[in-house]
Symmetry: C2
Subunit: 690 residues, 2 copies
């Protein structure tokens, strides 16, 4: 992919002298920064913008490895063929009028795909804004040349943005406001060939990229994407568009109904250590923070010291950290004594450290430096949250020395900035060049601090272990639709999932014999072909306490089923908590497993976590740890603690079953009751393709 990022010569097909057209903007942007050969191509001109213009791509000399195409869509396929014939290795197609533009455009895009397959030429786009590289000064894009006015700010963050205009607009916003430096910004458009996986792979190997942010609407190569994330040492932040429910309405299982709202995507991303964002600027803020502080030792707890010039801002910051569970540092006596030296006599030192009275007495630079030195030296402080003001009150400070000291001690510094417009921009650009992220709102700064100290999953690939036993294949046979409870649980049991003791009973006497063996109370269920909601249909009798009651219940069920179906006898079990486990096949990520809280409240809370399968035991344990109500598993209020290894093993086995049999669409274990801390499948359903 180097020919996209570091080409030696670029043909611009669709160059024009008309300054209102994108084909002119691209040329001007190339001329401002690109140092290699530039070949405008347009048969109607001799020169454009003072550069020799060429009649066609065929005639172009070396060096030439990249073409940027900005001609009307109907001409694009032919142009691409010419590029391939000329030996050009990659083309950025910035024209629109393809899959986003109705059936005719879709056909054109299919033609592009065919050309790429035939010729091996790599195609980026179409319907995209190309590439910006702030370090190299490359703008391979029709973005307005006004982007150069405030200067590109080189940084450590690379972005991949599916939406075209957004990438350009966002970049202009970031650069002109001084919010953030970037490394490479890739607008991928319709992804006819080059997609987010290709770009992510390149960026993860790129020495100028320390963190990657992606805005994605679809992740068609879902497994490849996750695998890249799993192996990445660099932080990755994803904003996934299109998470609102919709498809979930038609779900047949609990598992599938809990997959709405992007829970599967969130689970898959969390599994491989990706940080999720909910907005563009938040994504960028997380990226630039994590680019500076990519991975702290797991032992670091995140105890924060707040240095502020305003008591109110200190309090709001402490409230914000508390709400996110980030601890405030308890300052050591030495630290307090060191800060006390620059404080007025009457002023006690505590955290948040309110520096204002000291600043009035001793000046901002001296006081901020002394407080930062003392807190950075404190072994009970893991990070500094510095409040800065630019443009008044003699509060502006130079953080150069503080940044160096913090770097030496490996402690993150985050800065919240308020101030007048021009001084603020200057302060922000200068301070960020020191490696200190500057945020403009306290809640966002607090979120960024939280993100630094939230350990990202170290996902383990699943072991290549034995598939489910051959008997399972035989039982699945050529079945279609929902298997009944007993068949479902028999398969699960053969896969190693603990299930409740049960058996089909043909007569009251057979039922009584089995119940005698297990002891009362027992449960009797009527299995009718195709009936999924047994309870609602009156086919379940719980808590049968005696042989007489069992005989009566048997008779009732037989009558209710009118001679059809079978009767299932189960041991009655009690336990807490009541969970749900399941699996489904996601269109982007393939087989996934789920674990969630069961019972009535669960449905209101919607507390469920997903991961892609097959999965390792470690990943299954991590999945359980993502439940909001996971505290319930820890022996809460006298209940025995849940054996998380055993629970994880259920998920591992569900995942293995899904991976082995593509015919299985969904699996639902509901409830999965924890009896003396060990999970037991009490009801279950395996749903095959119809």
């Amino acid at each position: 992919m180097d020919f996209f990022f570091q080409p030696h010569g670029i043909a611009l097909i669709g160059a024009t002298p008309n300054p209102l057209k994108g084909g002119n903007a691209i040329l001007r942007n190339l001329l401002k920064g690109f140092k290699g050969a530039i070949y405008p191509v347009n048969p109607r001109y001799e020169t454009i913008e003072g550069v020799r213009c060429w009649p066609s791509v065929t005639a172009l000399p070396d060096p030439l490895d990249l073409a940027i195409v900005f001609v009307p869509a109907p001409h694009v396929p032919e142009v691409i063929r010419q590029c391939a014939a000329r030996g050009i290795r990659g083309v950025m197609i910035e024209s629109s009028g393809f899959a986003e533009a109705g059936p005719q455009g879709a056909a054109r895009q299919a033609e592009l795909a065919a050309i790429a397959r035939e010729t091996g030429i790599r195609l980026w786009g179409p319907n995209c804004m190309g590439l910006v590289d702030a370090h190299a000064g490359y703008v391979f894009s029709f973005v307005s040349p006004a982007i150069w006015d405030d200067g590109l700010i080189p940084g450590k963050v690379s972005l991949v943005v599916q939406s075209g205009l957004l990438s350009g607009g966002f970049l202009i916003d970031l650069a002109t406001h001084g919010t953030a430096g970037v490394s490479k910004v890739c607008s991928v458009g319709n992804k006819v060939d080059v997609n987010e996986c290709d770009l992510l792979a390149y960026l993860l190997a790129d020495p100028a990229t320390e963190a990657v942010g992606l805005y994605l609407e679809a992740i068609p190569e879902g497994r490849r994407f996750l695998e890249l994330c799993r192996r990445s040492a660099k932080p990755i932040v994803v904003l996934k568009g299109g998470k609102s429910p919709g498809g979930a309405a038609a779900a047949r299982s609990h598992t599938a109904s809990m997959a709405g709202n992007g829970a599967v995507v969130s689970g898959a991303l969390a599994q491989v250590g990706v940080v999720e964002a909910t907005g563009f600027k938040q994504m960028m803020d997380f990226c630039r923070t994590l680019a500076e502080y990519p991975r702290l030792p797991a032992t670091v707890r995140g105890r924060v010291a707040i240095l502020t010039y305003s008591g109110g801002s200190g309090i709001v910051s402490a409230d914000g950290l508390d709400a996110l569970g980030v601890p405030l540092a308890r300052l050591a006596d030495d630290t307090l004594a060191a800060i006390k030296k620059v404080f007025p006599d009457w002023m006690p030192v505590s955290n948040p450290v309110d520096l204002w009275p000291a600043v009035e007495q001793n000046g901002a630079q001296k006081v901020f430096s002394a407080a930062a030195r003392a807190t950075l030296a404190d072994p009970g402080v893991d990070a500094l949250f510095i409040h800065a003001f630019a443009g008044g009150f003699a509060l502006e400070v130079d953080l150069t020395e503080i940044a160096a000291e913090a770097r030496r001690r490996g402690k993150p510094v985050i800065c919240w900035l308020l101030g007048a417009r021009e001084p603020s921009r200057r302060f922000q650009v200068a301070t960020q060049a020191l490696g200190i992220p500057v945020l403009r709102e306290i809640p966002r700064a607090v979120e960024c601090i939280k993100t630094i100290f939230t350990p990202r999953a170290e996902s383990t690939p699943p072991p290549a272990d034995s598939p489910p036993p051959a008997s399972v294949a035989a039982r699945l046979g050529s079945a279609r639709g929902a298997l009944d409870e007993h068949r479902s649980k028999t398969i699960l049991a053969e896969c190693g999932v603990p299930v409740v003791a049960e058996c089909l009973v043909a007569t009251p006497a057979a039922a009584a014999a089995a119940a005698e063996k297990w002891g009362y109370p027992v449960v009797l269920k009527g299995l009718l072909p195709g009936a999924v909601h047994k309870t609602e249909q009156g086919l379940v009798r719980l808590g049968i306490a005696s042989a007489a009651a069992l005989e009566a219940a048997f008779g009732d069920l037989e009558a209710a089923m009118e001679g059809k179906g079978e009767i299932l006898l189960q041991r009655m079990v009690h336990g807490q908590p009541e969970l749900i486990a399941g699996a489904l096949r996601d269109p982007q990520f393939g087989p996934c497993v789920m674990c969630g809280l069961g019972g009535t409240l669960a449905e209101i809370l919607g507390d469920a976590a997903f991961a892609v399968a097959p999965l390792s035991r470690e990943d299954a344990v991590a999945l359980v740890g993502r439940l909001k109500t996971r505290q319930l598993l820890d022996g809460f209020r006298g209940a025995p603690p849940v054996d998380r290894a055993a629970l994880a093993e259920v998920l591992v086995r569900l995942g293995r079953l899904m991976a082995a049999f593509p015919a299985i669409r969904e699996i639902d274990i509901n409830p999965l009751i924890c009896v003396d801390g060990r999970p037991l499948a009490v009801d279950a359903s395996i749903i095959l393709a119809d």
Copy 2:
């Protein structure tokens, strides 16, 4: 208070020609905007900044009704006495060195309070930044005169900020970034006399104020503050600093332990229709949004049409609205047809409305206007969310006509803006002058839309109804500490709270007789003086199913209690859901009631809502409606729906009891079980002062 906001003459005591001092900044700020008489006071100068300087306040001529004091703290009391003697009505004390500055400062502040009481002069501050009025052009503050450089932007929002520097810094930030116009910004400082209630009362009556935002750390006149909010027709937004837990650790009841994290403050504010914020800029964004759209008819649902130039931004906006439960509008056929006229043939119209292909064909102004006209005319659309870009791509649009049309139809328009720095500021200032709030991040814009369409409580004052019966006073007598379960429930029953059937039993025979009357199973509890945790101490026997078991349990309890205490027999009840109700006395707000979810999961979720008491039935119903898990009350999953009126009545009666007996510190009903939908107190504790 008019002399603070519209004085005729101002004495500035502490004026100085030194441009580095606050006493000079105040003078320059006055000269730039204040049209009345200005009297610098300093015996060492003849003139300052070209204005005649006076040796003391005593000599000053009329008109003179306000003084601004910026002399060292030790001189302030004497200066205030002189002001009072001269007949000045109000003083803004902007000097620091008072209660915030150790015991000596606190003594000085106490002296100021005494002077105010003696003389009737009103004191604002000390340790504050005074007042800014952007409409009048008044800056009664030592804030840097640089604040004038970009011009004050007059707006509809007034602010009250407890923290001094914050108010100045925040204002400079807002004004220079063009983020928001303001009306009056009041920095209240140490509040020796004038406090947030005085200012709120003034601002609610101020014709130039359409919404009020307050940053407060303490609300000492809590009841007065709530009463002002309750009666306000103008939206009020509060950022409460200091909500982290701390004091909650020592709580003795469930009710008190759930009051951590500011739950009482949040409940009290929600009760009277106040919107809460978690950050300064969010507070301002809510204020300026609500200032434009203060109160929509309750029937308006908030169905939003999104007009965007970027598919990605549209999707992220739809996701954000969905996550907050704000519905996306379903556009009518007429609307679709009208928009289709400016769309390319191949492009279908849906919501979010992606205008880009149409903009390319027909230009931004025409397309945005057509789409806005059509969606505003659609009866299924309640609000527009317009995405704008300033400074490139020929996307900039003038929203003047759209604003007028929206105003005419009474439909809110919110704008999200991305763009280059200078054009963005221009667009933001111009568009906000049209009454359209412009936000810079999608999630924040979505929060603001949500806030417009979240009905604010219309709190009803409690009726002046009868106090609890006289028997309650007799029972409370001179008791101290925790009353036992039976005494607590007897009092509650006398107040009209439904309690479980129970009686003290002296012998097994008495117990059996009572159980016979109610029917088995029953519960037996040992009441030991001072014992609060009966279950943990083994003093509770549940589910006693027969006379024999009852006799045995009675013997067990007698033995366990070693002859002390009493034995309580109760009917055993079952029901769902299990709730908690309670009451406590908050230091700022006085008596408050609480209702929360009971059971194990409840503690993890911490789902409880508070309100101040006594309270009306309407307010009690609204309290219940603030529970996160309120869906459980609506007959979820086949359980009978809870009688919310009966539940509210329990809270009303708890509140009445708390209001009548100041000796009661806390009341805890746990559990309050819903039996056939009606709440029943099964265990309870009334805790009096020790």
